[in-house]
Symmetry: C2
Subunit: 164 residues, 2 copies
Amino acid sequence: MLAFTSAQSVLQQCLCAKLQVKSAEQGSEAEWVEINRGLIIYICFFKGASEEIIPNMVKTLLNVKLSQTESGKYVSVLDLPGSTLIIPQVTLDGKVKGRSMQYQCNIEKEIGMEMYSQFVTQCERELTASTKCAEAGVVSIITTLSSLNAFLILFSKCRPPSIV
Amino acid sequence: MLAFTSAQSVLQQCLCAKLQVKSAEQGSEAEWVEINRGLIIYICFFKGASEEIIPNMVKTLLNVKLSQTESGKYVSVLDLPGSTLIIPQVTLDGKVKGRSMQYQCNIEKEIGMEMYSQFVTQCERELTASTKCAEAGVVSIITTLSSLNAFLILFSKCRPPSIV
């Protein structure tokens, strides 16, 4: 779990993760995206967030040493090298009020989509620029806001989510 | 994601979750616990936490309306009724320093274990007292601190983790 100015992310390490990005419909099968070992980044922008925060977020999330290698050393997802799955997660600003959750800090939808889109572009740029990731052929999958209600199958090991 | 005084939890809804609580060893197979639809509660106590905070945490976590029924209504895990899997998660107090994570707010190990044990007992009490849960035969599985490095297989739908 990492808190940024006007944004919040939850990181979950995985050995394998599979996300349904399109439901089965008449005449078409469901579509899934899949990554092997790496990091799932759930991300939420709050009201007032501006694009200046994105470069630092991307740098922090992709470089923080959270993944444990076989020798016990902690390295970043870029150095693992691991795959990355990014999921927009608008519920991360929820506050409990009575028995209900309130999401009053959510960014306006259009601005949020633009922020997410920029976040994704900058993550892709970093991941593509990583020689280690390229050599290992790891995958970076960025999902869209429309996949929020998708199925997620996760195979994880060790300390599950870290709030960043 | 819910922040309490001196504690933090991340909630993740699941359709099915399976956690390895004992590795395979010579002569014995790995042991797993499994729940169907319900809630995974990752929980972490911070330095200075005292047992007075537990009743309110248990009440909040088990009664907050996060689970969506087929009709679209949000209900608590007790009202769903759903199963519960509780996982101690000491990394939830992590702060980024440079490229490393620091866990300086972690509670002393013995006190943390005692807090966790009391949290578990009070959750079990609430879940056992729930007529809906009893009638539906839902399972509550509480894991121990020793299972922190276990494998987790998760089948989830909809908005993944909520930080409480």
